[in-house]
Amino acid sequence: MIELVSEERCISCNICVKVCPTNVFDKGEDGVPVIARQSDCQTCFICEVYCPADALYVSPYAEQTVEVNEQELADKGVLGSWRAIIGWGPGRTKIAAIDTTPFIDRILPPRTIRPQGVSEVLRGGS
């Protein structure tokens, strides 16, 4: 769930307000968006991909809120990490350009178990 909009980092572009699929944010009076409907957050992490200032933090816990410490997240390099992995932002290589998925069969484990009626554990359909 979304837990943080860093006032220090935010450049008030309102991109997160526009792109959040579930409309979690409101524009803030001081320019920094507010998390207005946290319980609507679907933990999709996409706002982090779009934020140009690495100002957002989505916690991995989808069904509970947690306390976060901005300084700690910054020190550990967590802020902006998902955008960096996707490779958005100046000077970065897009993950799409170094995608290993098409070659994944080359490292398949010898014995795989494949439950039915359960998605994508190994090759869903193809």
Binding site: Q42, W82, I86, Q116
Partner: protein, 544 residues
């Protein structure tokens, strides 16, 4: 909704939904000469099941033998409810369109021989490109603008109405053709990107008398971290599963072991089949989203156990949806088309799931066909939609009709009641006649109260309508499931009382109706004619 909307637009084609299906439909309609408006509940580029993660696709070279083989295997897997001509058509069309995506800037990797590998798309990249392409084609995009109901007259559909949730105003788009591309219905189960998918398009279509097909093929759950949302779980192929005592859980009867194990207690996994740093690095560069929640929770998935759950996916990786009756993805109602997960995918997947490659390919192809069909339909219309005598068709969950104050029901309460019947493995995975009957009875009870919601603001208005859509979808699902008294190949439907596949039931089931739900059977069409793919115009190919 009040009589005149605050924002009024007229176009040839209205596309409802901005996932891949809607994006392709809008692009296709616009490149075929139509004036197009696309509305999305969230945002074209970030919203829906594809955007946050990504999808694997069908990318088979046009080798006759290879394709025949793929078609034959899918026919069997899909319980012979699919149609070879339609599978071929998708293989053709998706091949062409993936080339286009590369021309538009998607950086597909190449193998050692320089062959482009176009069988996987990272969601954020793909959908950002689609947004650009759609806008460049001249489509007007309204983000954060959920559609609530269709507009109709005696000739068919002529647009829709909805709300712009960030400006707090109502909109109305009149258009002689409408493409429903609202995705599937995952019942707010918190799967990746799926909480915007509440079956709105099914309800809209149902209200104008369109049937749904394949709604019984909805027994679909995806593994996800117990604490998290990530249902992109293909990498679990490198995992070993354990119970809470650390005993390995081995794949058992009929592949139901994960669901069975979860009924007994917590299930954990360790990605210990990726046993070298090279393999681990390799996997991190494939489905990166898989690692994100665990990394953030401080779990090293290669050495430490992590807790799993199964999240219900409804029609997203299930197969049912709006029945389409022609090659252009038109429905039985004039001017109404459906694409992507909003449409049934039975024509290419039969009774099996399209997750894993078919669904994403279908979104591309059905969007392309529906957009072209919608453009042709709209451009052949004699009258502008602006002057048609159109009326809103919405009847349920639109608020304002609770008979007395005491009858008012909060949406949240109804949502909980719907989820209680739809999400549990005991009801919806391990399906029994008795279990489904009881659940359906409770869902009927919810249905009787959907019009007692009294939304007070735009957010509540959207929720109330979503609630009605989920209730309708759930009733269609279970009605269809009770009518298919067998267990068909693919794992997407079975009843404990009827464990085998029954040749007599090698037909499709169509459901319709809202007050009373009815079911009828349809024979699988035997289409001998191979239908050709829509060729990209030469101009488009060069545009990239």
């Amino acid at each position: 909704m009040s009589d005149s909307a605050e924002r009024q637009l007229t176009a040839d084609v209205l596309v409802i939904g901005g996932g891949p299906a809607g994006a392709w439909a809008a692009w296709s309609a616009a490149t075929n000469g139509a004036k197009v408006v696309l509305v999305d509940k969230g945002y074209l580029g970030s919203s829906g099941a594809t955007a946050p993660g990504g999808t694997n696709l069908l990318y088979l070279p046009p080798d006759k033998e290879m394709r025949e083989q793929a078609v034959a295997s899918r026919m069997k897997q899909g319980g012979y409810l699919a149609e070879p001509a339609w599978i071929h058509r998708v293989l053709d069309q998706v091949y062409t369109n993936l080339e286009l995506i590369e021309k538009w800037g998607y950086p597909f990797v190449r193998d050692e021989n320089g062959t482009p590998m176009r069988d996987h798309l990272h969601g954020p990249e793909y959908m950002a490109i689609m947004r650009k392409v759609v806008k460049r084609a001249g489509v007007k995009v309204l983000d954060q603008s959920p559609a609530l109901e269709l507009l109709v007259d005696e000739f068919g559909v002529g647009g829709a109405r909805g709300v712009s949730r960030q400006d707090d105003l109502t909109w109305e788009v009149r258009a002689n053709a409408v493409v429903i591309a609202t995705g599937g219905c995952a019942f707010l189960s918190n799967g990746l990107g799926c909480n915007v998918l509440t079956g709105d398009g099914y309800l809209m279509a149902g209200e104008v008398g369109v049937e749904l097909s394949g709604m019984e093929f909805t027994r679909k759950y995806a593994p996800s971290p117990a604490f998290g949302s990530n249902t992109r779980s293909r990498l679990l192929g490198w995992a070993t599963y354990y119970d809470s005592d650390g005993n390995e859980i081995v794949g058992g009867r009929q592949g139901d072991f994960l669901a069975e194990a979860l009924l007994k207690g917590p299930v954990y996994a360790i990605m210990n089949k990726a046993d070298t740093p090279e393999k681990q690095a390799f996997l991190r560069k494939s489905h990166a989203i898989f690692f994100l929640p665990y990394d953030r929770a401080g779990i090293d998935v290669f050495t430490e156990p992590f807790p799993l759950t199964l999240r219900y996916e409804g029609t997203v990786r299930g197969t049912g949806g709006i029945r389409i009756v022609d090659d252009d993805c038109s429905t039985t109602v004039g001017g109404l088309f459906a694409a992507g997960d909003a449409a049934t995918r039975e024509r290419i997947t039969g009774s099996a799931s399209g997750g894993g490659a078919f669904n994403a390919s279908w979104a591309i192809c059905s969007g392309t066909w529906a957009g072209k069909g919608a453009a042709a339909h709209a451009l052949s219309h004699r009258q502008s939609a602006a002057t048609r005598d159109l009326k809103p068709a919405g009847r349920y969950g639109l608020g304002g009709v609770a008979s007395s104050f005491e009858n008012v029901v909060p949406s949240q309460e109804l949502i909980k009641e719907i989820q209680d019947q739809v999400l549990p493995l005991t009801i919806n995975y391990f399906r029994t006649e008795q279990g489904l009957k009881q659940a359906l009875h409770r869902l009927d009870n919810v249905w009787n109260r959907v019009n007692s919601q009294t939304p007070q603001n735009v957010r509540e208005q959207v929720r109330a309508r979503e609630t009605a859509a989920m209730a309708a979808t759930a009733r269609w699902m279970y009605t269809a499931a009770l009518s298919r008294k067998e267990t068909r190949s693919g794992g997407l439907h079975g009843l404990a009382e009827y464990p085998g596949q029954d040749e007599e039931q090698q037909h499709r089931l169509l459901v319709s109706g809202l007050e009373e739900v009815s079911v009828r059977t349809e024979q699988v069409p035997v289409s001998g004619v191979a239908v050709t793919a829509v060729a990209a115009t030469s101009e488009e190919v060069q545009a990239g």
